[in-house]
Amino acid sequence: MKRYGTLGTVGWQVLICAVVLSVWQWGYDLRTKLPWLVPDLLDPYFISKPSMIFDNFLIQSCLTSKLGAFNSWFNGDFGKCLARNENNLWAATAITLKNTFFGFVTGVVSGFVAGLILGRSDRLSAIFQPFITAVNSIPRIALAPIIVLAFGIGDMSKIVTSWIVVVFLVFFNTFEGARSIDEGFTNAARLLGASEWQITRTVVIPSTMAWVFASLTPAISFALIGVIVGEFIGAERGIGRLIIESEARGEASGMMVAVVVLMLVGVVLSAIIWRLQAYLLRWQRQRSAE
């Protein structure tokens, strides 16, 4: 296989970004000259444009006033701006991140434990199998309105929505991982005198880890989706709430700012998972290098 230099790859990536952003920014202006070339969708009313999104970002984050003047940290303008809006971009991001974190962690832990227990017990997995299949067939997001109804418009309903989409994903991966453990490993451990608990700790968990990690990157996006959907349905704060508010005002730039922030949050969280995986599964990396 031909190997591409890093510089070439980065060059292409920069070029693609430049083309997309340019079309987004200036594409609609071509409509006056070439109306047949430019679709309606490029109308900034629907999708805004990069420069407007950037300006809107500065306003929503209280870095500038609505007139475009810089809000100074020192004369207190920045602080006053933040105080005026309880759901400013910073607070919204923080609250969405917090709920995503709790939904993700509880989902991963409970999905992992349940997957391990059922994966190691033929009896339990036989008993629960039809229920799991049934519940798994429900599109989890369809439960979000019920969850908001039950848990209110506070943080708890977002965490629960997030949990419910994450838990099954992690559960099924852990379950499969625990089922497919090489019997040679468990036999070897048993013959060296390992107790059932020691086998679980030293053989089952490490060999299931690769499966669990395979589910964590999608799980983090799922957790974020769960929180945003919960916020769409009913919330006082959060990025989902920001999107709903901007939509009500017909403000595409406001929605786009929220979307870009979500994208960045997603990228950062995935990068963290990826780092953790590279460290914990370093024994796998060596194999692939062989």
Partner: protein, 277 residues
């Protein structure tokens, strides 16, 4: 002819001397709707410190017998006594070490941590563990690889590490299921040397499953020959080469050739039967 043909009945040795007693052992598997008889009425004893090879073609039930002794599978009939105590299936027997055909080193542990696994299980403190791992690593010629993962090692090195993982807990009975079957001839003979030196020093009781007659002759005090399926004991041969043995030189003696010829014929019949079965 020095090959002593003993029948499969109980030997007249003193009972205290018997480490492993296998009595009327049989095993049948249910495969789809047919019953496969893997082992039929196998009876033999192993003396303390004796090196016994279970030799036979594949499908002769020798590995099944070993796995029953290791308590990995439950016999259909008969019983196994180790030091006079009945082996219970599914429960590890203390003092028994097992080396698999395929090294079952844990890929997520470094070589050193793999070797020290047994000590970790029994709660040996870290500093003492470290010392004993270092000894074993040196003995297995794996110096410098303690912190490597098994995937970085060659087949022979991996099997040496697996052997050390078993030996570090100092088992008095060693069960080995074609442990060197996957290695090339040269590496295999190196491993014979390693094993012979360890056995001469530690004097474990060894049960060694193989289909390689040369290997059985090099290592064992006694060869138990298994017939093609269903596995029964066909014959037993005493292998009386002087100890300590040299894994290479022992093969050059006329007596080796003589024994080889004698057993080869008997073994060959079973290979033919095994193929047609």
């Amino acid at each position: 002819m020095s090959a002593l043909e003993t029948s499969a009945t109980v030997s007249p040795r003193a009972s205290a001397d018997r480490r492993v007693e296998v009595k009327g052992l049989s095993k049948s598997f249910q495969l789809a709707k047919t019953t496969i008889e893997a082992v039929r009425d196998v009876t033999f004893d192993v003396r303390r410190g004796e090196f016994v090879a279970l030799l036979g073609p594949s499908g002769s039930g020798k590995s099944t017998v070993l796995n029953m002794i290791a308590s990995l599978i439950r016999p259909t009939g008969g019983e196994i006594l180790i030091d006079g105590k009945r082996v219970a299936a599914g429960k590890a027997t203390p003092n028994v070490g097992y080396v698999f055909q395929r090294d079952t080193l844990f890929p997520w542990r470094t070589v050193g941590d793999n070797i020290g696994y047994g000590l970790e299980l029994s709660g040996v403190p870290a500093h003492e563990r470290k010392e004993r791992i270092a000894e074993c690593v040196a003995q297995a010629g794996l110096k410098g690889f303690e912190n490597a993962y098994p995937s970085a090692l060659s087949g022979g090195m991996r099997q040496r590490a697996a052997l050390m993982r078993t030996l570090i807990v100092e088992p008095q009975i060693l069960l080995m299921d074609e442990p060197f079957g996957a290695l090339d001839t040269h590496t295999k003979i190196d491993m014979h040397e390693v094993l012979l030196r360890i056995w001469e020093r530690e004097q474990q009781t060894v049960l060694f499953v193989t289909h390689d007659l040369g290997e059985a002759l090099t290592l064992a005090d006694r060869i138990i020959l298994f017939s093609a399926r269903p596995g029964r004991i066909k014959d037993m041969f005493e292998v009386d080469f002087a100890r300590p043995r040299d894994a290479v030189k022992v093969r050059e003696t006329p007596h080796y050739a003589e024994l080889f010829q004698h057993i080869w014929h008997s073994l060959g019949e079973e290979f033919v039967k095994g193929r047609s079965a």
